[in-house]
Amino acid sequence: MSSIETLYLAFFTTGLFVGFGHCIGMCGPIVVSFSLNLKPKKVMASNLLYHLGRISTYVVLGGIMGATGTFTRITTGIGGIQKGVMIFAGLVIIVMGLGMSGWIPMGRIFGNYYHPQGIISRSFRKLSGVQSTAAFLPLGLLLGLLPCGPVYTALISAARLGMEIQNSFKALLAGMGLMAAFGIGTVPALLMVARLTGSRWLKSREIIYKIGSVLMIFVGIYFFIKGLRF
């Protein structure tokens, strides 16, 4: 096995490892929020699309870092976007939580009975609504930009790889491969969380919705505030 393949393998296992620890804690709430709102049949497909989007973003970032061989300049460049994404994610989770709780008169926004009227709610549903499973791909693409320690750490390695490889096309591919390996590694843990929260026995409980919605609102506020401070 060549050294680059060993590196991919190392980052795949890093992804696995980090997934079950770090990701469940930090990014789990997002997955939980979506899964609680989905019909059981759609949970897997939607989640896979979300992860596909997320990993695509990682791969693009990895490619850029690999090709340019720099980490700091690019992260400084996208810092503002990341801040925005974090605030956006916070807002999405808060609105989903509010909708799920049934406290605001629009009913369960993402439930099966919801028929949006306003432009904002309609576009909002288009973006993260459950009715269309395909919407999870762009959502993943966007939320892949969420600032995250392990992703940064993997990107540093991609940039370092780029510095070592002189041919910039090869460096681009290496960076992309590394981030793909890392991203795929993080999927099993998050799918497991989705599977658990998406399962029927959890959803059949009205009280789960209540507890879940309160938690989601808190998590959303947390993301929002951290985003503002970022």
Partner: protein, 272 residues
């Protein structure tokens, strides 16, 4: 067989009642001895007696467990039932602990408190709790798993104390006969910036250059290694980046490994 079953499972015969009461007393004795064991400054004799009590209770509990498996008609059902698992966990820690040395894991001993749940079988009031627990099981599991997560991350965060001020000057830690001096530039040390790491080693130099692993205490983020190159006189330099954690936690750890000698940890805060 039928007779033993009536004794073990029922309480309508005298022998059955005696069996139940004996098991209950045994649980109480075991719990009391556990409580005594937690007291400080116990004499050798007391400890010896407690140890003996522990061994005897475990043996009797094991016999009880095996008896219950033998007499029940639905063996698999019993083994994986609430009480079956409680009965197993009441004795399992003892056997595991006698196999491997688990004294370091003090919390492991707390597992003995599971024996308390063995009493559930005999109390109507507690049985009601058990029923209530079964009804609310899903909610409780979700609730506790959500609660435990932030608690564990918060708790581990403060486990390590800053031992180095990288913003003003260098930090020194000793490793056997060598002093390891860490310096990070430019100062103040900020995350998401290209940083220069310098390690100076006094005394005997290692065969190959040391390296630094960056991470956050209690928060695994994957490998972030700074490789260093010797520039002579025991000075090694390399470049690396400390990433920013969106949670806002700022305590970082630099584990410096000197090949063939060992490693030291510098814990410091960075500016975001």
């Amino acid at each position: 067989m039928e007779k033993i079953r009536r004794i073990v499972e029922g309480n309508d015969t005298l022998a059955g009642k005696v069996f139940d009461i004996s098991v209950q007393s045994l649980i109480v004795v075991s719990l009391i001895s556990f409580s005594i064991e937690t007291l400080p400054h116990l004499s050798e004799t007391t400890r010896y007696i407690l140890k003996a009590i522990e061994i005897i209770t475990v043996i009797l509990f094991t016999i009880e467990y095996l008896l219950r498996i033998i007499v029940t008609q639905q063996k698999i059902h019993y083994i994986f039932s609430f009480f079956g698992l409680i009965d197993l966990f009441a004795i399992l820690p003892f056997y595991i602990a006698s196999g491997i040395d688990l004294r370091s894991i003090r919390a492991f001993r707390l597992l003995r408190l599971i024996r308390m749940f063995k009493l559930v079988r005999f109390s109507r009031a507690i049985r009601r709790f058990h029923k209530a627990f079964l009804l609310a099981r899903e909610e409780l599991i979700l609730f506790f798993s959500v609660i435990i997560l932030p608690i564990t991350t918060e708790a581990t965060d403060h486990a390590k104390i800053i031992n180095c001020d990288v913003h003003h000057g260098t930090c020194t830690r000793s490793l056997r006969d060598t002093d390891v001096i860490l310096d990070i530039n430019p100062k103040p040390v900020k995350a998401m910036k290209d940083l220069n790491f310098t390690i100076t080693l006094t005394g005997k130099q290692p065969v190959s250059a040391p390296y630094i692993d960056l991470g956050m205490p209690g928060m695994k983020m994957g490998p972030n290694r700074v490789t260093l190159k010797s520039i002579g006189n025991g000075v090694y330099t390399g470049s690396g980046i400390i990433v920013r954690c969106p949670s806002g936690k700022r305590i970082w750890e630099a584990a410096v490994t000197v090949p063939d000698i060992g490693s030291v940890e510098f814990i410091f805060d960075v500016i975001y």
